[in-house]
């Protein structure tokens, strides 16, 4: 089991859900309105006067065998619309109840 944290422009939300749906990934937590800035390039999503766009973030726990496929799809999504911004981070899940 891996925890996958995806931070992305709000506008990507439906696309991300579609990817998860296609891979049969269920269960997630979604934060709708977040502020954030990419570490390399791309516009910040701060919801301010200067940077009015907003980020959303999604945390989902995925079976190990699905992670690689999931990451690949998300990368494709990022490549397709580079201006929107999407970052994914994966780490191990120690325990669940």
């Amino acid at each position: 089991m891996k925890a996958v944290f995806i931070a992305y422009n709000q506008a990507h939300h439906e696309d991300v859900l579609a990817v998860m749906e296609s891979l049969g990934i269920k269960g997630y937590t979604y934060w709708e309105e977040l502020a954030g800035e990419g570490s390399k390039d791309g516009d910040p999503h701060l919801g301010t006067h200067a940077w009015p766009t907003r980020n959303g973030a999604l945390l989902t726990i995925v079976d190990d065998d699905k992670v690689a496929k999931f990451m690949e799809y998300l990368h494709k999504l990022d490549l397709a619309f580079p201006q929107q911004g999407l970052r994914t981070f994966v780490w191990n899940v120690e325990a669940t109840v």
């Binding site: 422009n9 506008a11 696309d15 006067h49 200067a50 580079p82």
Partner: protein, 1052 residues
Amino acid sequence: MSIYKTAVNRPVFTALLYVAIAVFGIFSLSKLSISNFPDVDSSSVMVMTTYSGASAEDIEANISKVLENSLNSVPNLKHITSRSSENTSLITMEFVQGINMDEAMNNIRDKLDMVADYLPDGASTPMLFKFGSEEMPILILSVTAKESMNGLYKILDDRVVTELERIDGVGTVGISGIPEREVHVNCDPYKLEAYGLTIEGISKVIAAENQNTPAGSIDIGSDTYSLRVQKEFTDASQLRDLVVGTSNGAAVYLKDIAVVKDTVEERSQESYTNNLKGGQIVIQKQAGANSVNIAKAVKAKLPEIIKTLPSDVKIGVIVDSSDSIINTIGSLGNTIIIILLIVMLVVYLFLGRWRATFVIVLTIPISLLAALIYLFATKNTLNIISMSALSIAIGMVVDNAIVVLENITTHIERGSKPKQAAIYATNEVGIAVMASTLTTIAVFLPLTMIKGMTGVLFKQLGWMVTIILSVSTLAAMTLTPMLCSKLLVANPKSSRFHDIVFKPITTFLQWLGDAYAKLLAWALHHKALVLCCAAAIFLVVIIPWARNMKTEFFPTEDNGRISATVELPMGTRQEITRNVAMRITDEWLSKYPEVERCNFTEGVSEKSTVFAAMSTRGTNIISFNVRLCSASKRKRTLGEICDCMRNDLKQYPEIRIAQVTEGGFMGGMGGQSSVDVEIYGYDFAATDKIAAELMEKMKKEPSVSQVTVSRDQYTPEYRVDFDREKLALHGLNSATAASYLRNRINGSVDSYYREDGDEYDIRVRSAREFRTSLEDIENIMLYNSAGQGVRIGDVARIRESYSPPTIERKDRQRVITVYCVVAHGAATSDVIKTATKHMGEIEMPIGITYKFGGSYEDQKEMFSDIITLMMLIIILVYIIMAAQFESLKYPFAIMFSIPFALVGVVIGLWLNGQAMGVMTLLGVLMLVGIVVNNGIVLIDYTRLCRERGDSIFDAVVKAGRSRLRPILMTTLTTVFGMIPMAVGHGEGSEMWRPLGVSVAWGLSFSTVVTLVLIPVIYSLFAKSDKNTKMIAAEEVKRIEEKAAETEETIKQ
């Protein structure tokens, strides 16, 4: 959940909501009535008091003055004027517009009750009535007839008047110019003398013989019958065999001493249309009714009525006040459609995508229809003001939708799905869109709060634009994102045609952006030069204009109607007057092919009405009503033709006073502009002299086309001066003697001839041939109670005399007014200037003062109202911008676009040769709210760039390049929207042309200047501001310093 999210997620709901608005709007449109201006309640009240036998001066001293002093303290009174003439006093009280007139009427009644005891015993109770423009005739029909002429009055009265009066909203219907039937008994005074009879006696005998008397009931057997003496005449010829006396034992029949004629009244008003004799039917509406609806209903009913009339009776229309209203509103409607098309074209050219254009343009009909719902709900009408509001708003309503759509497009191009883009992009610009709408609403909402005449006019405009803008903003935040989410696609395919058309436009816009960026860069390096240039432009235009400012109230509306009053010397006979009138008509008909119908009336009707009390009438006065063909069909304007007619009338030596009125009415909105010089002073001779002197001087001025004086001349008359002593010796008194005289000349009416339920006067008097000279009057025999006769010549002297004119007072002082009509092409302010100059030259005795009244007074009042309002609006706009920017200095920088809007307006006025009027000022007022929007867009984006870390220079240039397109787009939609108004030639276009000119010129000029000047001023103000990098560096430095301090403390 935000409204845009709901809107996008529930497209059916959203769409149907706006469909509902549209349906209600269309329903309202079909039900709305039209009129020229918003309903203005009459604000004048008249008080009429009669006191028989009193001269004008007595009336003034005993009635008018007493009433004025008491009525003067009624609240909200603007002016009190009075006309004191023989026997009557007529006081007119003018109130501030927009107050509750019922309350005012009650106040007046209270005051009248208080003062009642102080009036002379013989005076009647003062009569009170409201009178306003709505009581003016709205429709005048002409009637011509051949065979039926003698019975025409009855035919019209029975079949036309009663039918028309039944129509809802029609007030009174009057017939004029057609003599009424009368039975005349024309006696031979010498035969009367021979038989020892008098006119009074004959009149009494006729009355006594012409009666039906019920005589009670009688029981016969088991029945009860009523008894009746039925002796009323059933035919006028029965009068002839009436026994009026006996002579030597034989009966004297009426036919022996008099001629009995069943005919029409001797003196009457006559009416001619294009020199054909006929009558007039004058239709007035009820207060508050809609002229156009009534005129329509009357015209719909006419064909039905005409069918019932004899075939020789023809009915036509002389004056139809609804005509020009329908045409005016129609041409405004066309203007609105043109504006809509132009705005659509501009949007399409800029966006290059028909779907986007559709989304944006759709907000126009929806917001306009919403405003129509408001009009319908508040029982208002489609009029010049509300229609102008619609046309003004078209260019502005698309602005918000454009901003929203642009941002959605950006998001889609960045890769968002249309639905997501629609929600988030709208969210981003929502606040900015609302703020920019607020600055515009800040201008229009205060318009709804002002009082007086200005308030009445602009209230509707204020509400309409406020509603239109609010609905358009709502649509921009709901309907636009919803439609975008459905209609917009990421990368639209473009056809070859599209490429051919739009490639050059895109290239041009690109080039324009680059050029503008270069210009900005240059300007930022030459700030002082730019500021000096701007100041120079402002001063060079404004100073000469302010020194030489031409002002007017409202432009004269070309409604194709002219009325003229021509006065021949006092006492001219009706036949001669008629002859002059016919000559004038012939000349006008041949000289001006534009004249469709020329109607005149002359003579005095024997009936007296309120109209008669207000206007001077006489056998020497002709009043013309001329109708021209519609404005678009002729080359000469109304003003030009009127000026020519005035010159024509100067060629007639027999004319004493000629007055030609453009538009058919004086003053007010759209009427002829005039300057009234009111000269106050008690002494008739002194004020007369000053008025005459001023009149002579003003007549020579080219800026004045007509000068008249309000005070009449002394009227020549014969006075029969009875010697009381001689009368007494013969057992007579003045009253009896005077009644004898009256009965012989004017006739005695003691009885009526009844036929078919109508009553006709039976008038007994001397036959016409016995009352044509002064000798005839001297020969009139007076009888005392003993039956002894004496001739008037023996007890009285007849001498020629003059009766004093009506005494006019205003605000409790005697006044004489010199009316100066502003010539075609001149402005009211020119006339004021020359009149002031001339009045300065005239020597004024102590106690005589003057001031300017008429439309100039209203103009002054309205100008000061609007200027106060403008100050308030400027402050309000500043407050809204300051709140939006959270800064005091940037809004100040943006405010610099306002003076340049004024410069643009001045240039526009100068190029069009127009004077500054109320409509222009309204344009300036609107500009305050519109021109700042460009500055807001520009400064907002510049600040955004600064926040993103750009230097001042980079931020200004970048913002300029990026915002040029939206600024041009919103400006062009508004400016092009105004152009059809500014160049319109339809009927009534004079009214709104100044508005179109001022907004189009003001906005274009200010935009051009704003685009360079505002960034420069911004850069000066922003110098002290720091960008994010500087703030970060300072923050780090502060932390380091603080840390160093703490470390040092720890060390110690």
